[in-house]
């Protein structure tokens, strides 16, 4: 009798642990299904761009897999090229009673797990909610999942919020000091590249102009000569021009044009 009672309890335990484990019978929870439905028409852009409202812009690569070895789900990853934005999100309807797992830190083992997620969901100060739309820069994105870590006591993420458009991937992040980076077009990135190229060219042309003027100011005038090649420029003047020119270029490349004042012009 005792044995039978113990077996019954153990059986109850296993039933409880695997309660609803076969989600194919139970069906995918509605809120998770909405995210998975994003597969239809999901952005094919594997390269996206985020920028703030001033100058900073970064290229990111994103990848979404909606087929987890034949099982429905989502494995999404986005990683920035230069900054530390590095997010993985998994939507797993068949994990227990369903789970959304988020990782947004350099420590890939520090995950935030929302179990049986019914949106909005909350876990230890982390929250998830579905928004109808979000304005990011000049664009409006629809059906956006917002992850908010701003209320978490211990936030392993290097950001405060991120916004995942179910058809578009990452559309916005908010830094820990509340600076927004929004999705922008590839044209915005190209413009930024052009701007940086122009700034480098300006530094080079300043350096060349200063070098030329040093040489000109120190070149003896030969009134009677018609042949320019006969004018001899002292080597120390050429060295000085070269040195000042390099100093200006270095001042630029060290990120400080104000350092030009140290170039002994």
């Amino acid at each position: 009798m005792k044995k039978a009672f113990f077996l019954a309890l153990t059986g109850f335990f296993f039933w409880a642990c695997s309660n609803g484990g076969d989600s194919s019978e139970r069906g995918i929870p509605h809120d998770m299904q909405v995210i998975l439905d994003g597969e239809k028409g999901f952005s094919t852009d594997s390269v996206i761009y985020l920028a703030d409202s001033v100058k900073y812009i970064d290229m990111l690569t994103q990848y979404a897999d909606f087929d987890l070895s034949g099982h429905p789900g989502l494995d999404y990853t986005v990683k920035a090229m230069t900054s530390g934005i590095d997010i993985q999100m998994q939507v797993l309807p068949e994990y227990g009673n369903g789970a959304i797992i988020i990782n947004c830190s350099q420590n890939y083992e520090k995950k935030v797990i929302f179990e049986e997620p019914k949106l909005p969901a909350e876990k230890n100060g982390f929250s998830l909610k579905m928004l109808d739309s979000v304005k990011a820069g000049d664009s409006v994105f629809y059906d956006v999942l917002k992850f908010d870590a701003s209320e978490a006591k211990e936030n392993p993420c290097n950001l405060s919020e991120f916004y995942y458009g179910i058809h578009d991937g990452l559309v916005k992040v908010v830094s820990k000091n509340q600076i927004e980076m929004n999705r922008v077009s590839d044209k915005a990135y190209d413009d930024a590249m052009d701007r940086r190229e122009k700034e480098r060219a300006i530094a080079d042309s300043i350096a060349q102009a200063v070098a030329d003027s040093i040489i000109k100011a120190n070149t003896p005038v030969e009134n009677d000569s018609s042949d320019d090649s006969s004018i001899e420029i002292p080597q120390e003047i050429l060295d000085l021009a070269d040195s000042v020119s390099n100093c200006i270029k270095n001042a630029y490349s060290s990120g400080s044009l104000s350092a030009i004042k140290n170039c002994k012009i």
């Binding site: 090229m81 900054s83 797990i113 490349s253």
Partner: protein, 211 residues
């Protein structure tokens, strides 16, 4: 007593039930190789030369787009591998621009020290999708600059390393394959990261001159 016999399995089952609930966030379990290795190995000695990085230290930088920011040492972990080799991993972070930079060393010191020359080890720096490796100076493919001026301060014995980036498209955290890039790291044993130039033309550099 009979009642106890009935309650005992009930309690066990309840305990098991509570255990089958949440699967929680967890830190990586610290490995215990240090217990198998000599316990008197002095991590402090090479922490001193580890770019001067100490937990909580904040280092000023300037970004080419004009941003002034600080990289703060948010974590330093020390691990011992199965061969009792020491690994020191440092995480530098800034809230904005959002940077999470890892600096990890297998070498006893960072670079260009006499101790480095005795080994074939390297220092690895990871920024975004870029990886820089500063190998042993006697076995290096990076170069050395004797003096470099950055934001008004001169730095001696600067190592310059060309970076690699993840092979595109990057699709998973388990991806390890990399390809060549034009990114560059300027690094000094005493100060750590001096400057990083990215392929997109942006860069950031240590900014001690404005102190």
């Amino acid at each position: 007593m009979k009642r106890l016999n009935i309650l005992a399995p009930l309690c066990i089952s309840l305990a098991l039930l509570s255990a089958c609930g949440d699967i929680e966030i967890a830190d990586s379990s610290s490995n215990n190789y240090s217990e198998q290795c000599r316990s008197d190995i002095d991590f402090q000695a090479y922490q001193k030369d580890f770019g001067g990085y100490k937990k909580g230290k904040s280092i000023p930088y300037k970004h080419s787009d004009g941003y002034l920011f600080s990289l703060t040492v948010t974590s330093i972990t020390k691990e011992m591998d199965p061969g009792c080799q020491k690994h020191m991993n440092t995480l530098l972070e800034s809230p904005y621009p959002i940077y999470s930079i890892t600096v990890s060393a297998l070498a006893p010191t960072f670079y260009f020290s006499n101790l480095d020359k005795q080994t074939r080890d390297a220092v690895n720096v990871n920024v975004g999708q870029y990886t820089f490796v500063l190998p042993n100076p006697q076995n290096r493919d990076s170069t050395q600059v004797s003096t470099m001026e950055i934001n008004g301060v001169k730095y001696k014995d600067v190592a310059v390393s060309k970076g690699r980036k993840f092979k595109q498209p990057y699709t998973s955290i388990s991806q390890t394959e990399t390809e060549e890039s034009d990114a560059k790291l300027y690094y000094q044993t005493k100060k750590g990261i001096l400057k990083i130039e990215m392929e997109d033309g942006s860069y950031f550099a240590i900014n001690e001159g404005d102190k």
